[in-house]
Symmetry: C2
Subunit: 132 residues, 2 copies
DNA sequence: GCAACTGTATTATACCTATAATACAGATAG
DNA sequence: CTATCTGTATTATAGGTATAATACAGTTGC
């Protein structure tokens, strides 16, 4: 039943620290229900190679996740997702709130109203699929 | 006719460099039409005090803006916005695209569809007004 | 058991961001 | 004219981020 977290689709951008982007990506997977309690994580080294990022940077992300209780690690074995259902739901609510609120503030400052904002999101929804 | 850029409503968050947040804030004002060609900018020192940010950080933002052609500065006098109409429209299009696309990617990864995303934006639109 | 994986730790370097304290020259208002 | 604003430049320090090169110990699979 326990799957494996793939990190497929993670595209690193600049302007935000890499280790934070990794954490955010994982949390979004949790919010979607795609990442569940007991799921295995790829090893630091493997993920480092796959993302083209230094192992220490991966380790930093994982260390923060562990301090946060989302990941458990025993030295020598693979790390796992540790996630109570209430926690998952809390993360989902927080992320939805954060993302939408950030957009709302931005678009408000740009002079859009509620309907224009919703229409814009609708319009641009299908307009970016391609990946490198 | 030429107004004064106030920078009111700028709330600094963490996770992104301060000087980039300042630039982004100004660009959004441009996109909204609230910041126009010829508008005066507050002095580095004044803005520094008002935002509680080091003068050098303000200077960095202004230097980037000047290298980008959005601001002109003559040593001794106040700096001004330098903005052709086409440039303003280009900035508006770019920002709208960036903001909405970022939200779309986030919400897609969280499992929402287009209608749910638009509904969420609509729903949370009025739910954050308060300022410090 | 042993090889090959795993997590973990250490040290070093480089760059970026932000702060701090000055200093100097040009513009402006009184 | 002069005081006070303005932009600009310099030097120093501190912290965070990312990279690099190792090293060591625990686990897992054959």
């Amino acid at each position: 039943m326990a799957g494996l977290v793939s990190f497929d689709g993670l595209r690193l951008e600049d302007g935000m620290p890499i280790y934070l982007q990794i954490i955010r990506f994982l949390e979004r997977g949790i919010a979607a229900g795609a990442v569940r309690d007991g799921d295995e994580l790829p090893s630091r080294r493997v993920l480092s190679a796959r993302l083209g990022v230094n192992p220490n940077t991966i380790q930093k992300a994982f260390r923060v996740l562990e301090e946060d209780g989302l990941v458990t690690s025993r030295a020598g074995a693979k790390s796992e997702i540790s996630l109570a259902p209430e926690r998952a739901e809390a993360i989902r609510r927080r992320l939805l709130e954060e993302e939408a609120a950030a957009l709302a503030r931005a678009l408000k400052q740009m002079g859009l109203d509620r309907d224009q904002a919703a229409a814009l999101v609708r319009q641009l929804w299908d307009r970016q699929e391609e990946s490198p």
